[in-house]
Amino acid sequence: MRSGPGTSSSKGEAVNRAALPFLVLALGGLVVVGRLVQLQVVEHRRWSALAQAIQEDRIEVPARRGTIYDRNGVPLVYDVPAYEIALDNTLVTKPELLVDLLVKELGLSRAEARDKVYRQAYFTWLARGVDYAVGKRIQGEAKAQGIRGLLFFDSWKRAYPQGPLALAVLGVVGVDGHGLAGLELLFDERLAGRPRVVRLLRGPGGQVYDLWEEDPGAAGKDLRLTLDHRIQWVCEREIARGLATYPGADRGFALVMDPRTGEVLALAHGPAPDPNKPDPNLLIPWSVTHVFEPGSTFKALVGLAALDQGLIAPDEVFSGDSPILVGRTPVKNARGKSYGPITFRRAMAESVNTVLVQVAQRLGIEKTHAYLTRMGFGQKTGIELPGEVAGIVNPKEKWTELDLAVASFGQGVAVTGIQLGAAYAAMANGGTLLRPHLLPGPPEPRGRIASPEACRTMREILGYTVNVGTGTPAAVKGFNVGGKSGTAEMAVPGRGYLPDHVTTGMAAFFPWEAPEYTVLVIYQTTRNPEFWSGTTAVPSVGQIVRGMANLGIIRPYEPTTALGRSG
């Protein structure tokens, strides 16, 4: 008899029938769970690493290097996006099309491009620091033409929105992203930053499924300078014009400082390097790293020392005859000219060597040497540029009367441009020698070089020099420029002074009554014996003042109209 539903025997059978598959399923489940435990717990590390290697990309994105700004917040150099392009030679398709593309877009020669494309390698660098637009074009064309095997890495490259402005000061950065010269080298750590590390989870087709930052990195810190890009541009333009115009001019620089603070407003070197292919020789800020004999620009400083000591008066009369004997050595004026009796003021205006020899003789070796040291010569100024040199001022024990005599017109001593600029800035501000600086900060006094009264007297004499003397090409109506020019032959080791190796210079300030700017312009030639400051550096100072007025940076200090003062 068949048991009806709900009876104990039928239920027992049902349980029996279900028990077997249940047991099989349970065992199967147990096996699956066991395998899962093995894969996900016991062997977790191994399989996770394998999956990570297949699915994840670890990308190191270079940090964006800090921007360098001028004093007004105008960027002088910053990083712009770029590409580094490489090739996986094993994956290349359509190699001839790729060669054509590389020749067209990267400017490689056909032979060079073929060498790279047909190389037996897994990885070949094609180009680094490729412009963003060019990289995008290559990416687009490769995709359109079905070329495979190219690898694109995001990177940065330095860009100069103001052109090659102040490049010798800023310096450059190498392909590894580190500074090689100038401020880029000196402040490399600050500007560089730390790269960002990103992980990407990719699908089999390369599509990104997830992205997370392993290390957020840190962008490089910015740098703000005391330079004014407008004054810098005026100076660079003028130096470039001078080098193109003045026969034989090989190189030059212009320095503009605020004498009240020691801030360097412009430091232009010429010839200017090309920022894309910089010539290492043109990246040297030689106004800081090289010395020259200052010539007659030094007369104002020796005269200032004598005025400070009360040893001379502006209208005191000296003999301007040439030559003058120092020991047995005759010392001459330029072109051997004799001036007869002449006041100190006029002697400065006419740049009479023999008068300054007499002034230096009154000061004596001890005091002259002490003043030159006090003015910062023979010592580094501490400006924030690599490679600064101290200049050459021999120990006073080694000085002879002849050394004293020639030092009075800037021979036998070697100075850097920045030292000379700083000394004139001290005269301009009333006698306080300040550290010249490129990074903003409070003025840093280094000592006093002379009394405010002596400084004012010498400034008045130099205003006269520009109005009626050798400095007239620097005069700009309404701006009251004062200054002193100088021309000096250069000594070449083993050959002595060569007549066609000449340094010309003009150190100036304006308005001479209470200067707001000091300007120093220096040119050098190695091939023109008729290279004079009056036709090179002096007019350049005038052009720089005009250029600053053109851009509205300065306005006249005196009315320039016959209508006179108006109220």
């Binding site: 963003y132 103001q162 052109g163 053109n550 109220g567």
Partner: protein, 104 residues
């Protein structure tokens, strides 16, 4: 006896119903988990795509900013002004008055 048997039988159905309900609930939860996981993965992929697109846009912006800065540099302005026939002021043809109060 029948009464006891019936009561045992109805208890079995209830258990079965409860097991089915628990199974359905579990399946629902698993489905919900998987569905949400899929949605989440999709959103993560979308987020990653947007982050990368944003970074590319930022790079494009920086490139364009450079081109604008370059176009407004003094060097470029001087070239364009020169092309338009403009020349720097000539002090021989320019006169200044110094006004009282420091104005010029």
């Amino acid at each position: 006896m029948d009464r006891r048997g019936f009561s045992r039988g109805s208890l079995g159905w209830r258990e079965a119903a409860a097991a089915i309900a628990a199974g359905v609930l579990l399946a629902g939860l698993v489905f919900l988990y998987l569905w949400l996981g899929t949605v989440l993965a999709g959103l993560r992929a979308e987020r990653a795509r947007l982050v990368l697109a944003l970074e590319e846009l930022e790079r494009t912006r920086l490139e364009l900013a450079y081109q604008v800065d370059r176009a407004y540099s003094l060097e470029e302005l001087a070239l364009r002004a020169g092309a338009l026939g403009m020349v720097p002021f000539d002090e021989k043809r320019t006169r200044y008055l110094v006004l009282e109060g420091g104005g010029r």
